[in-house]
Subunit: 764 residues, 2 copies
């Protein structure tokens, strides 16, 4: 939806204007004092004089066209105003009035009436329950709360899903001398959504950076679309998305379900989209202000110039936190600096030019000039700030800051100025900045370094994304027959194998002799696992037997497994006979036991006949998850015979449907890495191989894949390729797929193989 | 050293006063404008008029006693001033002059002359190379940089090891309306040290909180003493200690050496001492200001009252980060709030009373009163702040804030006020706070929540420390004979066993038949390990054989080990004969092979004869550390035979001498936990059992000790007791001990046993 007209009216009617309302007073005052050039009409059903001017009794009485109606009437009267306005051809509205969706059922009903009416009549409505907007770039300020002087115009567009915080954000931006292009308080988003405003800002020539305060991302697909446009346009999005503390585990069956909270998915999605996520309102504005001033930064090698040893060391600490590099200066830089820095100082990066700056005011500037010429750095951080207090004679200050501003403007690399501590830029400081061209100052080392780190990471992410075509979603195919409930290993693994994915060979048998024959076909040692419909957690009931090294052990294990199978009245040795009826419902096509016979899969036979042990096949998907979601008694399908693997590194690969973002990939190392450390890397689908490699590199245990502790280094390209294929396959399974989990995916060098799998469908 | 006189002079001489120096101008101006009631004398060798007043040519000319000389003369002239002053009986000095220790060798020589002269003559000197101090509590401000108006008097004492940052800290404190008692810029600390000033502040009735900016902790023992005094006195110490980024690995031999950087030790020491470590200058002042206002907080259950849903959710996120709890309100609280909060709001903790506060200015205060009465909370966080802009009629603002201040003062639980964002408290805001008694406002949700978290943690740490007697250091005994170089397992384990610590039984043998006899004495399976002087890393040369289950395997392993032993010309099968000469140097008393015979230790024989595997004895101390520090060829002592253990959880216990803080305990889980995750908990010695338990609970893998993944839960009391005994034993070994490492310490339920050990002595 276009909001161009909403944000650029030439005439505004304040409907429900009254001397009794602070909102009414503020809105009119804002329009009058912040330069609105169009006409403002007051509407009050009683007419008379409001705010010292005559008021119209209705929109109809206004003798000229109205571009925007700012509506402050009681909740029940809002729809009437829209009806009247629509008839008059008024297309754009801000509804300040509250009492809608946020206030319960009756309010929600009124709100849906409004959005339905807007849809029918092509109305653009901001709100309800929002304070309006401040289009600082165009001096249009229909905004219901006081705007403190001065309103600073600039290139940061701010969109907030909170009315109360808008004033704080505005005050903070002002305190940091960060100018805004547009600030919008969204309200209930019943018609105009955050993404509509973002779209506008991406196209708005006055806006260089978009700053968001988000309580919820209502439409992830739309958000992703706009975020990609912003990245293409080179406009960073900085977002404070709240709700981190609520870990919602929306899927119980698979491991990954319990491991992945809603916020983890949001975090992954924002990173994939190149959105800078910050944690505080301060970082929101300081980071946005920095990026508005510098644009993309060329690299992470920072030269630091300060007048203080103490500050230099705080910077060194914080730079390490942010992954920034402070490389040693080149020899020529050191030589030139040695001539500038007093003899009692030390020439190093970070550079402390010493407190001698108090005697020689040119010292810092001369050192800066040398450091900006260093061939080994991408940008310079200068510790400085505009003066706080107006001196008796301000001329020297202006001269000094003008000289610095010139040096910074002429620098061959970007210079980011950061102050020691986060205090307001004072009125005199702002004047100095405005009149000398002294650049943006990031407020304080703590937040300033965070902003530099975020800007560098965004610049790198943008380059990475622009360098390769986006991963394309896979076309979903019809779900396989019988795609309901939980598919235990024998069906899940067969489904994967049918797609050509590497799965450990397996035979589903229903008689003891068959088990022995299958085992001998694979060669010992082998594994026997119970195969039952709807049984997600076979190891919980002793349904897995490892390291069987002869026929007698296989026979014994077979009998034990059959006996471990729970009967309708609970686990019992007299459970369903192994020769009993096959599972209800037709097996998926191509998944009959014969299709899985050892001979049929012998080409990918066992690759390792090492000693049995607590090895590769021990955990299994869902091992610590919840019980099978269906309460029905599992139906025995038979017993799976597989060759026993050993060695290698176990991965968990999970694909879980996030209710908002769709299928999400979680990869992690098996065992304690997921169970104790919850060490997984997440990606919203689609992903390509390169993205999976990046995800693997983010794991805390990634060193294990690279051969730490004497293990064979994993072929990361091979692993990433298989995982990306698994993810793509999951996409093709369509909306019916709830989750697909492979645990473990065994990696031995370049050999990658799923040892166990579990599929859960949305329909039970 | 007492600094009482230094900080409380009644007359001050400015020596080296001159119109040409900004420092001279500022110092005099500060004394004149900030209320110094005593006399100020200017001294300049040329006499004449300085700063508009007549100057004396020397200290001697001054006709009345001088309590403090503030010295700004050239570097070479400083000692002369001290000589003159000492003769006149002047005891206290601030030396602003630079060019001493910080400026190279000649400066260092001059500085040591000064400190020697001060020691001989009992002089108290602050500096050199420091700006002096601001005793705001007593209006005494001999400080060389401009002090911006107004100087706010309060109860935070600030000590800085940085001159340049002092002004920033002062400006920030002022911006947050945090008053100071004393601010000291330490300079080179050639006479008066940070700890001397801390001691003064602990006793100073004007000071409630001590805020430190530290580049280095020069005297850890002294620092620890003062920190303990402060904790006893209930005065929190908040410290920004820089240098986090430099990981110094000062000990190479043991695992722990590489794992523990200098800053890790400092971090552990500060935590043990109850010092609040912060990361930024903002947190330093905001946290100190909060604690000065509230004192200890009673618990971590916080009731939150805000006028904004967005802010409530940021607070919920940040509270979780800080480990604070936001419990649901009690039913009676909910019922009372339901009558206050507008119907479209939701009653929950955190509470959003809604933007209706703009209509009903009493709403927030009434809700606050209800929440403070909730029986389930320890403190209330109120989101509010003083006004920024002076309204046309300030009376209503004063009335409103007076009412709030009264409510807060009458609250049965502490109320901490936090603002949305970190902006300056404006002049009008400060006036409102001063005149209405509206309390301290922590600046912004981000830093405010950090401050509340830090204050709660400090309050808990203080209660914990005061509740039990401090762990007492153990008396060191003389080092055992031959305490040099690296003691490999056969000597290190015997040393531990001699102290009654639980060590796996072990036999040192030198002939094949002896090995078999020892193995049969223990029962199979057994482990054979090479035992050689100076060989730290036996597994690197194949010097460990696991899971030997019969006499033939033992014999084979014995021969293989002997052959694996490196000869002077490198590893060779014709290495030293097992019947060769014993190691050079006398074995430690009581550690002869006979003392370690199986029969001698049979009372603590094998407790587990489970199957062999890649189990408990596989890693060994130093497995991934550096090579034995001595370059000498290891001398074969024989072969160790031990019963093979299996199961249980492996811990690493390391005691490493930190050059500053002395012996430090590192505990962690073995394997990937230390090698990949570097997951260790540190404590500076001495420690008691309770402190070790706390350390174990801090491990990321602590769940494994509690029985995660099906393992037997460890008896944490038993583990902590053994670890504490090991630590105490290490202390008794005295200063000669460089490190003692046990890896692994096997824990199986309540059975705790060292399976391998390594001792490194400081003398090679």
């Amino acid at each position: 939806m276009s909001v161009e007209a909403l944000f650029n009216p030439r005439s505004i009617a304040l409907v429900g204007a009254t001397d009794k309302s602070g909102w009414s007073i503020s809105t009119l005052l804002n329009l009058r004092t912040h330069g609105f050039a169009g006409s403002v009409h007051l509407v009050n059903p009683r007419g008379g004089v409001v705010h010292g001017s005559p008021a119209f009794r209705s929109l109809t009485e206004i003798p000229e066209p109205v571009d925007l109606a700012y509506v402050m009437v009681p909740t029940a009267a809002v729809l009437g105003v829209l009806r009247e306005g629509a008839k008059l051809g008024i297309r754009c509205y801000v509804i300040l009035t509250a009492g809608f969706g946020e206030a319960g059922e009756e309010g929600a009903r009124l709100e849906s009436e409004i959005s339905a009416f807007a849809a029918e009549n092509g109305l653009t409505i901001l709100g309800p329950n929002g304070n309006g907007y401040i289009n600082a770039a165009a001096d249009i300020t229909p905004y219901g709360l006081p705007i403190a002087e001065p309103l600073l115009r600039g290139s940061v567009g701010v969109v907030l899903q909170s009315g109360a915080l808008a004033s704080s954000v505005l005050a903070f931006a002002q305190a940091r001398n960060v100018g805004i292009s547009l600030l919008t308080s969204m309200g209930n988003e019943s018609v105009v959504a955050v993404t509509d405003v973002m779209d506008y800002l991406v196209d708005d020539p006055a806006t260089k950076v978009v700053a968001l305060f988000l309580e919820t991302i209502r439409n992830p697909a739309e958000f992703a679309r706009v975020a990609r446009r912003a990245l293409q346009a080179g406009k960073p999005i900085v977002a404070l998305k709240i709700g981190r503390s609520r870990l919602a585990s929306h899927t119980a069956q698979a491991h990954t379900g319990a491991l992945v909270g809603d916020d983890d998915v949001i975090d992954a999605a924002l990173r994939q989209l190149g959105v800078i996520r910050v944690r505080s309102l301060e970082d929101l504005i300081i980071t946005a202000g920095l990026l508005a001033a510098t644009g993309p930064l060329p690299g992470r090698r920072v030269g630091v110039v300060t007048p203080s040893g103490g500050a230099s060391e705080i910077i060194a600490d914080r730079a390490e936190d942010e992954g920034l590099e402070l490389p040693p200066f080149a020899p020529e830089t050191v030589a030139r600096l040695a001539e500038i820095v007093p003899s009692f100082g030390t020439v190093a990066n970070p550079l402390d030019v010493t407190g001698y700056v108090l005697i020689d005011r040119t010292l810092l500037g001369r050192a800066l000039e040398v450091v900006t010429a260093d061939p080994g750095i991408d940008l310079v951080m200068l510790l400085s700030e505009p003066p706080r207090v107006t001196p008796p004679d301000p001329a020297p200050a202006f001269a000094l800051y003008s000289a610095s501003a010139r040096r910074i403007a002429e620098s061959p690399v970007p210079v980011v100025v950061v102050s020691n501590v986060l205090t307001d830029v004072t009125e005199f400081g702002r004047r100095v900045q405005q009149e000398t061209g002294f650049p943006y100052v990031a407020g304080g080392i703590e937040h300033g370094l965070h902003a530099i780190g975020a800007a560098v990471r965004w610049s790198e992410a943008r380059a990475r994304v622009l360098a390769r075509p986006p991963a394309l979603p896979c076309e979903p195919r019809p779900a396989p027959p019988g795609a309901t409930g939980v598919w235990a290993e024998h069906r899940a693994s067969a489904l994967l194998a049918s797609a050509g994915l590497p799965v450990v060979p397996s035979a589903l048998v229903r008689e003891e002799p068959e088990a022995v024959a299958a085992a001998e076909g694979f060669g010992y040692p082998v594994v026997l696992k119970i195969a039952a419909e709807g049984l997600g957690h076979k190891s919980d009931i002793g349904g897995v037997r490892l390291g069987l090294s002869g026929a007698e052990e296989v026979r014994e294990a077979y009998r034990a497994l059959i006996n471990a199978m729970p009967s309708p009245s609970g686990p019992s040795p007299s459970g369903p006979s192994p020769s009993g009826p096959p599972p209800s419902g037709p097996p998926p096509s191509g998944l009959s036991p014969s299709g899985l016979s050892p001979s049929g899969l012998s080409s990918s036979g066992p690759t390792d006949s090492g000693p049995a042990g607590a090895g590769a096949a021990s955990s299994g998907p869902g091992g610590s998850g919840a019980a099978a979601s269906s309460g029905a008694v599992p139906a025995l399908a038979g017993v799976l015979v597989q060759p026993q693997r050993s060695g290698g590194v176990e991965l968990l690969v999970g694909l879980v449907r996030d209710p908002a973002w769709g299928l999400t990939l979680a990869v992690g190392l098996g065992g304690i890495w997921v169970e104790v450390l919850r060490d997984t890397a997440l990606r919203v689908l689609p992903v390509d191989t390169e993205e999976v490699r990046l995800a693997l590199s983010e794991l805390r245990g990634t060193a294990l894949l690279q051969g730490a502790r004497g293990s064979e280094p994993a072929d990361l390209d091979a692993v990433a390729e298989v995982v990306a294929r698994i993810a793509a396959f999951a996409e093709t399974l369509g909306d019916e797929l709830e989750s697909l989990e492979i645990n473990p995916l065994l990696v031995t060098g370049s050999h990658v193989e799923a040892l166990d799998a579990l599929v859960t469908w949305r329909t039970l």
